[in-house]
C-alpha cells in the first residue's frame, strides 16, 4: 500500500497546488509542491532505511522487498502490481530528490500560472515513480505514455523561445511524437509477448512475474525485443534517435530540463534492466554487440557535438547523450561490475546533469542569454556560481572522487572482458569529455568581463542550499559508493544471472 501512496502523493499534491492557487494565492502552489515532494522523498528514504534490499532470487524468481497487487482489468489479466527492490528504490529516491530540486529551482523562474505548472511537474514525477515501481506491463506502458503529457505542457507552456531555434512548441511536439510513436511500437511488442504467452498457457496476463517464464522461438524473441529496445533507445537517447533531446532541453524551463535529464532518461535505462534484458535474454545477448556499438557511437558523437554548441543548455544536453552512451554499453555488457557501474552512473549523471541545468537556469535568470559567445568573464562577476559550476563540470568529466568516475570506471572495467575494442573506444570518450567540459568552463567563466559590465547578483541561500546538497551527494557517491552498490547488488545479480546464461548460450565469454 505504501508503494501506491508513493505514486498517489504527487498526483494529489499536484491537484492541490492547481486548485490552491485560485483559493489561497500565488505562492501557495510552490509550498504545497515542496511539501509534497519532501514527503515523497521522506517516505522513499525511510523505505531505504528500514527495508532489506539484499533478498536473493529464489529459483530464478526475483524477490521484492515490498509487493502490492490489486486487480484492475481482470478481462485481460491486468492488475495494479507494484514491487520495489534495490534498483527501483534507488531510482525512486533519485526521482523524489530531483523533484524537490525541480520545485526549488523554479521558485523564482516561474511566475505565470504557478499552480498549473506544479500540477504538471508533480504529475510527471508521479508517473515516473510509477514506472519505476510497476510490475505489470500494461501499467508500465500506461504510465510510460501518460507521463509525456505533463512534460509536453512543461516545455510548450513555460519553455523558452531561444533565438534562432525553432520554438518551444516545436520542441515539445517533437519530443512527444518521438516518444509516443516509439512507445506504441513497444505496445505492439508487449501485446505480442502476451499473446505468445496466451497461446502457450491459455491465460491472458500482463504480469511481469508470469511473463518472465515465457519461452519463445528465437525469431519471435528478437522481434519483440527490438520493439522494447526501440522505445527505450529513443528515450535513452541512443544516437540516431536522439534528435529530440537537444531541442527539448534547450527550450524547456529549468525544472523541465532537470526532470528530463535527471529522471526521464533513466526510465529508459531502467526499462532495459527490468524488462528488455530479463524478458528477452537470448535476443538481448545476440543483439548486444549492436547495442554496444550504438552506445560507443553515442559516447563519441555526443562528445563531438558538444564542441560545436554555442547554447550552454544544448552543450549539457549533448553531454547527456554521451553519458547515457556509457549506460547503454554497461547494460549490454552485462557483467556484475558493468551493471553496478550503470546504477552508479545513472545516479551520478542524474545529480550532475541536474545541477548543471539548474546552474544554466541561474545564469540565464541573471544575464538573459544562454549563448556562450555572449558570456565570458563571468568568474569576475560572481563569487560563488563559477566555482560551483566548475565542480559539476569536473564531476561530469569523470574526476576520481566524484560519483561519475565510479560509474564510468566500473562500466569500462566490466565491459573489458566482453569487448576490449568497445571499451577502448568508449574510454576515449572520457578524454573528449574532459575537453568539452573545460571548453565550457573556459568560454563561459574565464577571460575578461565585458567593459563596464556590472557585478551580478550571486546565488541566494535557496540556490546555495540546493547546490550544497547536490555537491555533498555527488562527493558521497564518489568516496563511498558501497552504500549504493550494496542496495542494488541483489537486483543487479538477478539481471546478471539471467543474462549471463543467455550469453553463455551465444558463446560470449562472461
Amino acid at each position: 500500500m505504501i508503494l501506491l501512496w508513493l505514486i498517489l502523493i504527487p498526483f494529489i499534491g499536484g491537484l492541490l497546488a492547481w486548485q490552491g492557487e485560485r483559493v489561497v494565492g500565488r505562492g501557495f502552489p510552490r509550498w504545497i509542491a515542496l511539501a509534497t515532494m519532501l514527503i515523497a522523498l521522506g517516505i522513499s528514504v525511510w523505505l531505504w532505511c528500514v527495508g532489506d534490499y539484499s533478498l536473493a532470487a529464489i529459483g530464478g524468481v526475483p524477490q521484492w522487498t515490498i509487493e502490492y497487487q490489486l486487480p484492475w482489468i481482470p478481462r485481460f489479466g491486468i492488475s495494479l502490481h507494484l514491487g520495489i527492490d534495490g534498483l527501483s528504490l534507488l531510482l525512486v529516491v533519485l526521482t523524489n530528490l530531483l523533484g524537490v530540486m525541480a520545485v526549488a529551482c523554479s521558485w523564482r523562474e516561474i511566475d505565470r500560472n504557478v499552480g498549473f505548472f506544479h500540477l504538471n511537474l508533480l504529475w510527471n514525477l508521479g508517473g515516473v515513480v510509477g514506472v519505476f515501481l510497476t510490475l505489470d506491463l500494461f501499467l508500465f506502458f500506461f504510465l510510460w505514455e501518460m507521463m509525456l503529457v505533463p512534460m509536453y505542457f512543461l516545455i510548450a507552456l513555460w519553455g523558452h523561445n531561444s533565438p534562432g531555434g525553432k520554438g518551444r512548441i516545436y520542441a515539445a511536439t517533437k519530443f512527444f511524437i518521438f516518444t509516443q510513436a516509439s512507445g506504441l511500437i513497444m505496445l505492439l511488442s508487449i501485446l505480442g509477448l502476451v499473446i505468445v504467452h496466451y497461446q502457450q498457457t491459455g491465460t491472458i496476463t500482463f504480469d511481469y512475474m508470469v511473463l518472465l517464464k515465457t519461452v519463445m522461438a528465437p525469431k519471435v524473441e528478437m522481434m519483440l525485443m527490438l520493439g522494447f529496445f526501440i522505445a527505450f533507445a529513443v528515450k535513452t537517447p541512443m544516437v540516431p534517435l536522439h534528435s529530440w533531446l537537444p531541442d527539448a532541453h534547450s527550450q524547456a524551463p529549468t525544472a523541465g530540463s532537470v526532470d528530463l535529464a535527471g529522471i526521464l532518461l533513466k526510465t529508459a535505462a531502467y526499462g532495459m534492466l527490468r524488462f528488455a534484458l530479463p524478458l528477452f535474454p537470448n535476443a538481448s545477448a545476440q543483439f548486444a554487440p549492436v547495442a554496444m556499438s550504438f552506445g560507443v557511437l553515442g559516447v563519441l558523437y555526443g562528445a563531438f557535438l558538444c564542441f560545436s554548441q554555442n547554447d550552454i543548455k544544448r552543450l549539457v544536453a549533448y553531454s547527456s547523450v554521451s553519458h547515457m552512451g556509457f549506460v547503454l554499453i554497461g547494460i549490454y555488457a552485462g557483467t556484475p561490475q558493468a551493471l553496478q557501474g550503470v546504477v552508479v552512473q545513472m545516479l551520478a549523471h542524474g545529480l550532475s546533469a541536474g545541477a548543471l541545468f539548474i546552474l544554466c537556469g541561474e545564469i540565464y535568470e541573471r544575464i538573459h542569454t544562454r549563448e556562450l559567445s555572449k558570456m565570458g568573464g563571468l568568474w569576475a562577476r560572481f563569487p560563488y556560481l563559477p566555482p560551483i559550476a566548475l565542480f559539476f563540470t569536473i564531476a561530469a568529466l569523470g574526476m576520481p572522487g566524484l560519483g561519475n568516475f565510479v560509474g564510468e570506471f566500473l562500466i569500462l572495467l566490466g565491459s573489458w572482458p566482453i569487448s576490449p575494442l568497445i571499451t577502448i573506444l568508449a574510454s576515449s570518450g572520457l578524454v573528449f569529455g574532459a575537453v568539452y567540459a573545460l571548453i565550457l568552463v573556459q568560454r563561459a567563466f574565464h577571460g575578461a568581463p565585458a567593459e563596464g559590465a556590472p557585478p551580478l547578483k550571486d546565488l541566494g541561500k535557496r540556490e546555495l542550499g540546493m547546490m550544497a546538497v547536490l555537491m555533498l551527494l555527488l562527493l558521497g557517491l564518489g568516496l563511498y559508493p558501497q552504500l549504493v552498490l550494496d542496495t542494488s547488488a541483489a537486483s543487479m545479480h538477478q539481471v546478471h544471472s539471467i543474462y549471463s546464461a543467455a550469453q553463455a548460450l551465444n558463446g560470449v565469454a562472461p
Binding site: P74, R75, L148, Y152, A172, F176, A181, L191
Partner: protein
C-alpha cells in the same frame, strides 16, 4: 402475423422513438415552443434509452421480431449508444438553436427520425431492414445539415451529402439486388449460409457494391470526399451527430453483416477492405495536418478513426466484435465531448461557428474547465493513457496483433504519431496567451445548461472508461455476436 407481448417489449425502444416522433410532430402543429418541443423529444428518447438499459440489465435473451429485426444484446448495446449520442445532440442543439432566426422546432423531429433509422440498423438482420434503416437515417440528415437554409455553407453541405448519399444508396441497392439474384433470400442468415458454401462471382460483386455503399456512409478513403465539406457546413450539433450516431449505426450493421451474413467468407473483399482501412488511416491523418478549421480537422480525424476501427473488424476472430464495440463506445463518448465544446463555444448560433483554431486560442484562461474538457478529449482522440481513447486503441492493437496484421498495425502506429501532431496543435493553442479580441466565448454559465451538463458527463464517462474500464468491458462481453454456422 401477430406479435406477442414479449416481442412488443423487445421492440419498445423503436416503438417509443416512433411515438415520440408523432407526439413531437403534433405538438409542433399545435403550438411552436422551442423549450417544450425539445423537452418532449428528450423525454421520449430517454424513455427509449431506459427501455434499452432495462433489457440489458435483465439480460434479455435474443428475440427475433419479424424476419426483419432481431433484438439481441448486440442490438441493445448499439441502440443504447445511438440513443445516447442522439440525446447529446438534442441537448446541444437546444442551446445552439437559441440564436437561430428561423423555425427551431423541426430539428428535434428530424433528429428523432434519424435516430429511429439508426435503431433499425442496429437491429437489422435482413437486407430490407438494412436499406430502410439506412435511408431513414440519412434522409432527415440532409435537412438537418442544411437546417440554416438561408446560409450558403450549410446548404452546400446538405446538397453534397444528398447527392453522394443517393449515389451510395444506388450502389448499395444494386449490390443487394445482385446478392438476391444469387441467394434468393434477403435475410442475413441465408446469405451467410450461401457465402459459407463458397458463393459465386456475382455474389462477390454484390458484396463489393454493398461495401462501397457502406464505405460512403463511413467515409472510408476513397469515398471520403464529402466528409470535410459536410462537417464544415453543418451546424455544430449536427456535425457531432454525423460523426457519432450516424457512423456508429452504419458500423454496427456492417459488423453484423460480416459476422452473420458471411462477410468474412469473402476473403478477397476483406483484403480490399484492409486496403481501404490502410488508406483511411494514412490519408485521413495526413490531410488533417493541414487544416486550420477545427470541424474539418475533426472530420479528417474521424476518417482516420474509422480506419482504426476497421482494423479490428478485419482482424476477425473472437475478440473482433468486442473490440469494435469498445472502439465505437470510446470514440462516441470522446467525439461527443469534443464536438460538445465546439458547439458550446459556438452557441448561440451566429454567422459562423467557432471553428477556426484561432477562435480557441487562450480558451484555458477564459473558460478553464471547458478548455480542460477539450484537452482531455483531444488526448483521448490521440489515444493517450488515462483516457477512453487509449482503451479503444488498446483493443484495436490487441486484435491486430492477434491476427498478425502487421502492415495495418504499422499504419496505426504511424497514423497515431501524425494524429498527435494536429491534436497537439489545437490543444496547445487553448493554453497560449489570450488574444485581446476574440469573437467566441461560451456563456459564463455554460455548465448549468443542459448542453454543458452533457459535456461534463461525457468527460466523466470518458475518464471512467480510461481509468476503470472493467464494467464497460463486461457490458461489451454481454453484447457480442455469435457467428453463424
Amino acid at each position: 402475423m401477430m406479435l406477442t407481448d414479449i416481442q412488443f417489449a423487445a421492440m419498445s425502444p423503436l416503438l417509443l422513438v416512433s411515438a415520440t416522433i408523432v407526439v413531437v410532430m403534433l405538438a409542433i402543429a399545435c403550438k411552436r415552443h422551442h423549450q417544450g418541443n425539445a423537452t418532449l423529444s428528450v423525454i421520449g428518447l430517454n424513455l427509449a434509452l431506459i427501455a434499452c438499459g432495462a433489457m440489458i440489465y435483465v439480460a434479455q435473451p435474443a428475440m427475433t421480431v419479424t424476419p426483419l429485426l432481431v433484438v439481441d444484446g448486440y442490438a441493445l448495446f448499439y441502440m443504447a449508444l445511438i440513443l445516447v449520442a442522439t440525446l447529446a445532440t438534442a441537448t446541444l442543439s437546444h442551446a445552439y438553436l437559441e440564436g437561430f432566426k428561423g423555425e427551431k422546432e423541426e430539428m428535434y423531429l428530424l433528429l428523432c427520425l434519424s435516430a429511429l433509422g439508426g435503431l433499425t440498423l442496429a437491429c437489422a438482420q435482413h437486407f430490407a431492414s438494412l436499406f430502410i434503416g439506412l435511408e431513414l437515417l440519412s434522409i432527415p440528415l440532409y435537412a438537418m445539415i442544411a437546417y440554416p437554409v438561408k446560409s450558403r455553407r450549410p446548404l452546400e453541405g446538405g446538397l453534397k451529402y444528398l447527392v453522394l448519399s443517393a449515389v451510395a444508396s444506388a450502389f448499395l441497392l444494386f449490390g443487394i439486388a445482385l446478392i438476391y439474384s444469387q441467394v434468393g433470400s434477403l435475410s442475413f442468415a441465408d446469405v451467410g449460409g450461401y457465402f459459407a458454401a463458397g458463393g459465386s462471382r456475382i455474389g462477390m460483386l454484390g458484396g463489393a457494391l454493398l461495401l462501397i455503399g457502406l464505405g460512403f456512409k463511413l467515409s472510408l478513403v476513397p469515398f471520403h470526399l464529402w466528409t470535410p465539406d459536410v462537417y464544415e457546413g453543418a451546424p455544430a450539433p449536427v456535425a457531432s451527430y454525423l460523426a457519432t450516431a450516424s457512423k456508429t449505426a452504419v458500423f454496427a450493421v456492417l459488423m453484423r453483416y460480416f459476422v452473420e451474413a458471411g462477410g468474412y467468407y469473402q476473403a478477397s473483399l476483406v483484403q480490399v477492405l484492409s486496403w481501404l482501412a490502410f488508406a483511411s488511416i494514412v490519408v485521413g491523418n495526413l490531410l488533417a495536418v493541414r487544416q486550420n478549421n477545427v470541424k474539418r480537422m475533426l472530420a479528417y480525424s474521424s476518417i482516420a478513426h474509422f480506419g482504426y476501427c476497421m482494423v479490428a473488424l478485419i482482424a476477425g476472430g473472437p475478440l473482433a466484435v468486442e473490440a469494435v464495440g469498445a472502439y465505437l463506445l470510446t470514440y462516441v463518448v470522446t467525439s461527443l465531448g469534443a464536438f460538445g465544446v465546439v458547439t458550446l463555444s459556438s452557441s448561440p448560433m451566429g454567422e459562423r461557428d467557432a471553428d477556426v483554431i484561432y477562435d480557441y486560442r487562450g480558451l484555458f484562461w477564459r473558460r478553464p474547465y471547458l478548455a480542460s474538457i477539450l484537452t482531455a478529449m483531444l488526448l483521448s482522440l490521440a489515444g493517450i493513457p488515462l483516457t477512453a481513447g487509449f482503451i479503444g486503441k488498446f483493443y484495436v492493437i490487441t486484435t491486430g496483433v492477434d491476427a498478425h496484421l502487421w502492415w495495418l498495425l504499422g499504419a496505426v502506429v504511424v497514423g497515431s504519431a501524425i494524429g498527435l501532431y494536429y491534436y497537439l496543435r489545437l490543444m496547445i493553442s487553448l493554453f497560449l496567451l489570450d488574444p485581446s479580441k476574440h469573437r467566441f466565448s461560451a456563456p459564463l454559465d455554460w455548465a448549468q445548461r443542459t448542453g454543458g451538463i452533457m459535456t461534463l458527463l461525457a468527460m466523466l464517462l470518458m475518464l471512467a472508461l480510461g481509468i476503470f474500464p472493467q464494467p464497460f468491458i463486461h457490458l461489451l462481453q454481454v453484447s457480442t455476436l455469435i457467428p453463424a454456422g
